[in-house]
């Protein structure tokens, strides 16, 4: 089933274009990797799906961005509700200055849930989901800053999962992590795939190859090539893609 889709999307910061005519479709319960050299517009594209770019002044969007076939930029769309459907994980772990428990409970609380027992259960299941429970179950009341970088990032994933989105957007989620933490997050992505649609931006080719079903290669704001990960990495049609994945530029 088609989950995420962009049609003829152009995006401008001021007058300079950051995305040009992007047409891309992503199926439910798949992992799509966005790759490409720095500044090519991967983050910009990713942030279209939870309207994070709205926060930046002086931007312009043309074309359509659809989730479940609905244009999320059309009039009457409630941005807060939209954002509840799409969890986001950022490049650097960015827990709130709150306790471990409150970090995960945050999304529930801001969405008006007050049932204490419900919150406790949801926090526990989500922390278990990201395989962090054994490490933090005794210090849920402690500050989230006391966790290691890798633990913090898994906590941030739990935070995003707690409100049960259907889409998870990840912007270089492992670039600040050590190899062991990275492989834990990658395992997690594998498991989450059965329930969520995942889009992940990464600079790590091996990672893209390991975790994704489809890969899209961006270059200077254009979508150069998209296809199954296997095809992109073994038999790309475009020369630029070939050069990039073999490390000849980027």
């Amino acid at each position: 089933m088609l989950k995420l889709e962009s049609k003829q999307v152009n995006f401008y910061y001021g007058s300079s274009p950051a995305l040009k005519d992007i047409n891309l479709e992503m199926e439910s319960n798949t992992v799509t990797a966005l790759i490409g050299p720095s500044g090519c517009g991967k983050s910009t594209y990713l942030r279209l799906f939870n309207r994070m770019n709205d926060l930046i002044d002086n931007t312009k969007l043309t074309g359509e961005v659809l989730i479940d076939g609905i244009d999320i930029y059309k009039k009457g769309i409630n941005v807060d509700t939209l954002r509840k459907m799409t969890g986001m994980v950022f490049q650097k772990p960015n827990p709130f200055p709150k306790s471990i428990f409150e970090n995960v409970a945050y999304g529930l609380r801001v969405n008006g849930i007050t049932d204490k027992q419900f919150i406790e259960e949801r926090v526990e299941t989500t922390i278990k989901q990201v395989v962090l429970w054994d490490e933090v179950k005794d210090k849920l009341k402690k500050s989230a800053f006391e966790l290691s970088g890798g633990q913090q990032q898994r906590l941030c994933i739990a935070r995003a999962l707690a409100i049960q989105p259907s889409v998870i957007l990840m912007d270089e989620p492992t670039s600040a992590l050590d190899p062991i933490s990275t492989s834990k997050v990658e395992e997690l992505i594998h498991e989450l795939k059965s329930k969520y649609t995942i889009v992940i931006v990464t600079h790590n080719m091996q990672q893209a190859a390991r975790v994704s079903d489809h890969t899209a290669f961006f270059y200077l704001g254009e979508l150069v090539e998209v296809g199954t990960t296997k095809k992109i990495f073994t038999n790309p049609t475009q020369e630029k893609t070939q050069n990039y994945i073999t490390g000849r530029f980027g």
Partner: protein, 401 residues
């Protein structure tokens, strides 16, 4: 460059830096030392005017009288020795009263027999309370000289009256001034904190960049306006407005001072707390929004908790500014040295008192020293505030690592 010369110049600059560092620290220490030396010496002083003595009849059991009681005797609020542990009512004797006891001839043309006359008066009237210049003290004085009590810690901090030029004993109760300072500063911070925080939130989280670029320099400019100008503004605009609004006999009140000080503390509060809020990592705010939180929820639950130590520091530095401010307060608070009961009464703050009175206090006298003691109190107040800031910002650093 010649390596020897390079090394030499480096050493030279290092030396210069060290010297200037030492000199600054020494200056600070010196100022504090000087302030406290002068201030504390007020407690060695007698409140009675210098060069005067107080004497009573030998049969009187009273041996010492506090400055407050001396004043009360002169004001005839105390009219009986019973209040002081003696008996019978007091007969007050001042130098000019001598003519009721002796003729000019008996005193002598050049007052040569005046000391003897005073001695006789004091000797003959058991209930007498005599106050006269020391130079007219007879060599074999038949009365009993009273030890005028030294100014004590208790009377200084607890005394309800500040009347340093009172005759014959200066009334040095700092309580009305301390309270005045606290009231005015507290009022100022209660006004400035909500306003300043609102402005800071607006500037850091809501305003467009263009608006912010105009607002920020304007607010910083507010910090550069001389305080006399604020005082004028207060006198011309705020004081009459308060008088009208609350229907008061005078508009010069603690409230006027609080408003002016509040305005003066605003730039500090706004710029520091705004800086703290802008320091909230963008990704943290985005994470909150990405979870479906509204802008306000993000501000209340993420931005403010993240910058709470900066906000606290801003508030405390704002109070610090308010407590130490002199000129503007002097101009609008009415300067009545009485214990305030409401913010709508005239009040007098410590800095205003020092500024207004230091010029007329005789160098080295009780009044002069008392003003230094007030300075010490002010110093301690601001020190406590600064240490609090240090503590708060310090503990934050500890938490982050």
């Amino acid at each position: 460059m010649n390596p020897f010369f390079k090394k030499f110049s480096e050493k030279f600059i290092e030396g210069l830096l060290m010297i200037s560092g030492t000199v600054t620290s020494l200056t600070v220490v010196l100022i504090v030392f000087f302030l406290f030396k002068e201030g504390i010496s007020v407690f060695n002083k007698k409140a009675v005017e210098e060069g005067y003595v107080i004497a009573v009849n030998k049969s009187n059991k009273v041996n010492s009288i506090s400055p407050e009681d001396i004043k009360n005797i002169f004001d005839q609020k105390i009219t009986s020795w019973k209040d002081l542990g003696g008996k019978d009512s007091i007969i007050l004797f001042r130098l000019e009263d001598i003519s009721t006891y002796f003729t000019d001839e008996q005193i002598g043309e050049n007052f040569e027999r005046l000391p003897a006359c005073i001695s006789r008066v004091v000797d003959s009237i058991p209930q007498i309370f005599a106050f006269f210049p020391e130079k007219y003290m007879d060599k074999n004085f038949k009365g009993k000289e009273i030890e005028a009590g030294k100014i004590s810690f208790n009377t200084f901090f607890g005394g309800k009256e500040w009347f340093p030029t009172a005759q014959p004993a200066a009334q040095l109760g700092a309580k009305p001034l301390i309270l005045g300072t606290l009231w005015v500063s507290l009022g100022a911070i209660l006004l400035a904190l909500p306003l300043g925080l609102a402005a800071a939130i607006y500037m850091s989280e809501i305003a467009k960049d263009k608006v912010r670029r105009v607002m920020k320099p304007l607010i910083e400019l507010l910090a550069g306006i001389p305080s006399v100008v604020y005082g004028f503004f207060g006198l011309v605009v705020i004081v009459p407005a308060i008088q009208k609004l609350f229907n008061l006999p005078v508009g010069e009140t603690g409230l006027a001072g609080s408003i002016i000080l509040g305005i003066m503390a605003l730039p500090t509060i706004i710029t520091i707390s705004e800086d703290a809020m802008r320091n909230t990592p963008r990704s943290m705010k985005e994470a909150s929004l990405a979870l479906g939180a509204s802008k306000w929820q993000t501000i209340c639950r993420v931005v403010i908790p993240h910058s709470i130590s900066g906000i606290t520091a801003a508030a405390i530095l704002g109070i610090g500014r308010a407590i130490g401010e002199t000129m503007a307060v002097l101009m609008v608070t009415g300067n009545a040295a009485v214990i305030p009961h409401s913010i709508l009464e005239p009040m007098r703050t410590i800095p205003a008192t020092i500024a207004a009175e230091l010029g007329e206090a005789p160098n080295g006298g009780v009044h002069y020293k008392a003003l230094f003691a007030l300075g010490c109190i002010l110093f301690v107040m601001t020190l406590v505030i600064n240490l609090t800031v240090e503590f708060i910002t310090g503990s934050k650093k500890y938490k982050k690592h």
